[in-house]
Amino acid sequence: MDDFRPTEGRGHGVPSLHYPLPRRPPPGDSLSLNSHLSATSSHAPIGRQRTHSDHVQLDPPPYLQQPTKHHQKQHYSSSTSLKPALTATSSRSASAASSRYTKEGAPFQPFPSTWTAPPPSDTTHKSHQSRRRVHSSRRETAGGDTASESGISVLSAFRPTQRPQVDGDKERRRASREHTDSPLRRWARWSGQRQSVAGALGLSLALVVLIKWCISLGNYSGANTPPLRGDFEAQRHWLALTSSSLSSPFFHSPAGASSSLSLPPTAWYFHDLSYWGLDYPPLTAYHSLFLGAIARLSPHTAPFVTLRPPVNSSVAELENWEQSMVELEAGGAMKSWMRGTVVWGDLLVWASAVVVYCRVNYARGAGDKGWRPVIVSAMSILLQPALLLVDNGHFQYNSLMLGLTLWSVNFLQAGHDLLGAVAFVLSLGFKQMALYYSPAIFAYLLGKCLYLGGRPGVSLLLNLAFVTLGSFALLFAPFLTSPSHIVQALHRIFPFARGLFEDKVANVWCALNVIVKLRELASVATLAKVALFATLLVVLPSMIGLIWVSWATGEKARKSEGAQATEPSVERKSVPTIILLPHALFLSSMGFFLFSFQVHEKSILLPLMPLTLLIGGREAGFGRMDWEWSVLLNNVAVFSMWPLLKRDGLGVQYLALTLGWNYLVGYNPFHLRHSFVKYLSLGAYSAIIALHLLELVASPPAHLPDLFVLFNVALSVVVFGLGFLWASKRSVQEGWGVVGM
């Protein structure tokens, strides 16, 4: 079985055929060029024809392509001679390998290498999308030779070629490239021409880090607002709380009265609950412990993790501590240090996961140029304004949770399901918010078990169950000593008593609350049940769909493969439904965001993550609509967090980063093609601008202090809801594509 994208060309465990990649003959040596071509043509029949075509950048897949006339003979003979030797899978990988060959070592370059931006014109989108569709539906019929290598190409040889004139084609492509060119693409091209891949990637990541640091200059949540401060103080408090029990000659003790306090893990979930009591799962606590330990290695940073004196201590002690905190905040060193922990964690977990994801999904061939879309898409994803503003501005460690989830997706794609499950458990163990993703991950894994069916399926299911439970048990191990500890931990992590929603958040309940006062209508417990029911109702269809598609695909594959007992090789691979995963992740998390209980405005980061991943599809040449929706939802999501950012004093960063990011990815809503999303975007942006202007010049009436926030909520929830519907449609399309008729 091949991977789901033929261009990837590096399938795992594929019985790959290694064609000798052509060496470059000396330029101008036409004799060696010809002989070289004829030599390679017998090896790579499909790729060869494309080397002469002008479609280096946007060649349609081999099986859709019509050979040019002067090569048809050669092609015919070579493909027939090759046919018997290849099994179904290897012939597919042959096309993959040959497409890699053309991409990488294409000896002919009909237009200058500076024009290397992928031109996602009409034809590109269609061809790539249809490639995915055709390819995945071809999985079942892949018993013998495939149509691409023999049937279609032979038939099409007798059709008149309908290729447009080369000059007109070039012009058109250049025009379309100019239209879709983006500063990020120009940057990738420019740096790629001057630097090695590692250099260009390193520079790009350094730029991302630089921008993160610039945002870090801004205020954090609750800066200089004693006594409670904000999320920054919460995280700092957890560092102090968890690391208080460390004692070793290596560790400096933080100054202050509370330094005598030593709290073992079992006390973490009980300590001082009124002052930022720990309410995140254990991995956050361990992460805090790790950072606290690092802080205490140096006498300069040890004071950063001073624990607040317990409630029963004297007023003088509390005042002392308060005073030291004010000094630390004014000094700026503590802020920088904490900001640094975010940036480092982000780089190690989130950025690495993004680069790997983009490399696997969006690379074009194996050469240096193949990295350009990777750099473009990775930078688009890493500079996503919503995440930067919350993590590096407002101050949280969301990127760690998102990064762990993305690592899980990466592992699933590579077929390492157990590692994927562990990564996802870690993500859940870092922040319970990752629960929003769990239906999709669960559905994919269960679907894979059904796809495999029989013994391998059951064994995978058992392994997954064992590994998941085992990693949960390990995570919670310190709290398993007594039932009261674990109950307290769970009670802290899932606070049902806090009400349907806290702040104004762009979800359905908060929006409905404008019309119907829900909290007066029913008790918290009833509302929780209603919310749970609604969430399930919204999330279940996509889950069931994913599971059904997996099962149906598996059935078809088993039927068609029939006699060939190739089951064991399948186990190590991802299954075709993996391409449904980003949309499924989006659907389940957006369903949770819109309908579940106790949602924060920052939780919009969760639906945004899988959607932002789809941005890279444009670089690989498919998914124009995905890209447009993704950018729209990103912009609206940042806007939906505006009240929060305004409170934190991050207005300049909000404006500069959002506009800058849109410019960087080359987004101009006026230049989109006519579609529903274009007019929705234009409408949404005009409303957003109008609302900002209104806020600038007028203040809300006295009896409606939250008026602007409510406008914000209403606008955002409508766009989010439409995005949800659209993604449902896309999922059905994709699922249809996978299952086939």
Binding site: R24, Q109, P183, W190, A206, V209, L210, L217, G332
Partner: protein, 548 residues
């Protein structure tokens, strides 16, 4: 990419060393477009720089921020005659009149934004409104620099347009400008923009504009007077001596009085525009007051933190000698032992070496400058003019009295324009930029800006240096050996940063343990190491200038 092309025989393709041109029109086409029609590259760089500079709004700002706020208040609240007499704040107005008018102009907007900004007694006001306002004025006034660079790059012939765009972008995003203007807070981008406009005018032989712009610049900030001698010689020689039929021979040049008078009228009228209102309002006493503010001579040889120049090296030698002789029991005046390097503005007393007076420094500067000026007199070409500008700035920085480290921008920016002239210029540019930018790091004293200044400088260097190196032909064997030594010096900055950032704190863990004599060790090391680089760059450039 070009490697994979098989059709190089039929099409003109750049060789491997020369990167393919940017996808932008070449110079002639670019020059024909209306100036506001930016190419994609120009637009990208401009927007990236704007976004980046907006993000730097909350960064650390020095007392210069309050200085400029106070000037806004002075110029807005007081009548013109009182501007240079006000002592309500310790940050008195000490820039020439044009800058005062510029502040007055901005103050009228500041009043609209927040009237508290321009209140005289509102000292130390640092609400978000004033921060955002003043930072915005820096970013907007820097558009003058952007315009000058655009003009310079689009009509540039010698570095071709793609290279010129890289150089122009490197100036616009220069880490030195970021540190001094957008974090520390000053208006150097605007002023250097005026300088570059006048340089561009000189390149196009539009010498009246060149003179007028430079005269205006002098009335914005008088530090540019260091560049006046080359301007004077260049304008005199180029404009007032008419060319005969053979341009190259200097004997055929005839002095033309009328041209000198024309230039003189332009310059004098600009000065009149600047000082005239003060003369009318306050008489000669007003003018004298302005000059006493502009040229305060009570300051010391070195600034608080030693600027990386010759005197830093001399002071260091003196310190070492004092330590050595003290240990040998020589009698040395106690005031000299405690003087210097204490981080305070004041006069420095050398313990061993002969004292340096302002007269000495000025005569040295003048003597060295005369050498360059003679060469410029003999060959008043644009290229030589630009080189002599850079060298004058270098000389005044290295040998001047009470030089501030921010003055490195004075030679770094014009030097950038000549970077791809030849291999020597490129090496000078690399060494001087690295040392100069690094010497600016101590301006930002808060930990939050450390990663930003480091990352911005590294990225800048990693993008600019290799791109420029590719368009400069390789040197001969001897200079390659020199290059190795220079590269070794450049790597030394990593070690220096490690010491300053990590090791020093580790050796002397806390302020109580620190030995008083070690307190300023990181600053001294930075200053000395940078001084080595700047002096070497100056020597190298001087050698090229004089030998060719």
């Amino acid at each position: 990419m070009s490697r994979k092309s098989f059709s190089s025989s039929t099409r003109i393709r750049p060789s491997k060393e020369v990167p393919p041109p940017l996808p932008s029109p070449p110079a002639p086409a670019a020059a024909q477009k209306p100036w506001w029609h930016l190419s994609t590259t120009e637009r990208d760089v401009l927007i990236a720089s704007l976004v980046f500079k907006f993000l730097l709004f909350p960064a650390y700002r020095s007392t210069d921020f309050e200085v400029h706020r106070n000037w806004l208040a002075i110029t807005h609240s007081l009548p013109l005659s009182q501007w240079y007499f006000d002592t309500g704040s310790e940050w008195t107005l000490d820039y020439p009149p044009f800058f005062a008018y510029f502040e007055r102009f901005m103050a009228s907007f500041a009043y609209l934004v927040d009237p508290k900004i321009v209140q005289l007694d509102n000292l130390g006001y640092d609400a978000w409104s004033v921060v955002a306002f003043q930072r915005t004025t820096v970013v907007l006034s820097e558009l003058v620099l952007t315009g000058a660079l655009l003009k310079w790059a689009r009509r540039s012939m010698k570095p071709d347009y793609p290279t010129a765009v890289i150089i122009a972008s490197s100036v616009l995003l220069h880490p030195g400008l970021l540190i001094v203007d957008h974090m520390h807070f000053q208006y150097n981008g605007f002023l250097l923009g005026l300088l570059l406009w006048s340089v561009v005018a000189a390149r196009e032989d539009n010498l009246y504009a060149c003179a007028a712009l430079f005269a205006a610049l002098l009335n914005f900030k008088h530090i540019f007077i260091y560049l006046a001698p080359p301007y004077f010689i260049f304008l005199l020689r180029r404009h007032c001596f008419s060319k005969g039929s053979e341009c190259s021979s200097s004997s055929s040049r005839q002095f033309q009085m009328d041209r000198l008078v024309e230039l003189g009228v332009i310059v004098v009228s600009i000065f009149a525009l600047s000082f005239g209102p003060f003369l009318i309002a306050g008489g000669t006493a007003g003018i004298r007051q302005i000059f006493s503010r502009l040229f305060p001579f009570q300051r010391g040889l070195n600034h608080a933190y030693w600027a990386p120049n010759v005197w830093a090296l001399v002071s260091a030698v003196d310190r070492v000698l004092v330590k050595y002789l003290l240990s040998r029991g020589w009698p040395i005046s106690p005031s000299a032992v405690t003087s210097a390097s204490r981080g305070l503005i004041g006069t420095i007393e050398f313990g061993v070496l002969p004292a340096v007076t302002p007269t000495v420094t000025f005569s040295l500067t003048l003597a060295i400058s005369l050498v360059y000026l003679t060469k410029l007199w003999l060959d008043p070409s644009y290229k030589r003019f630009l080189d002599s500008l850079v060298l004058s700035a270098f000389t005044s920085f290295l040998w001047g009295w009470h030089v501030h480290e921010k003055a490195v921008l004075l030679f770094l920016v014009p030097l950038s324009l000549t970077a791809v002239e030849d291999h020597d210029h490129l090496r000078t540019f690399i060494i001087a930029s690295t040392a100069g930018v690094y010497s600016l790091f101590p301006l930002l004293i808060k930990p939050a800006e450390t990663p930003i200044k480091l990352l911005a400088s590294i990225i800048w260097a990693a993008v600019v240096f290799p791109s420029l190196r590719k368009v400069v032909p390789l040197p001969n064997l001897f200079s390659m050996l020199v290059d190795y030594a220079e590269t070794f010096y450049l790597y030394g900055f990593i070690a220096l940063q490690l010491y300053v950032g990590v090791v020093h704190e580790w050796i002397f863990p806390s302020p109580e343990v620190i030995k008083p004599s070690m307190e300023f060790l990181p600053l001294m090391l930075t200053s000395l190491y940078c001084a080595l680089g700047v002096v070497w760059a100056w020597l190298r450039l001087s050698w090229v200038y004089l030998s060719k």
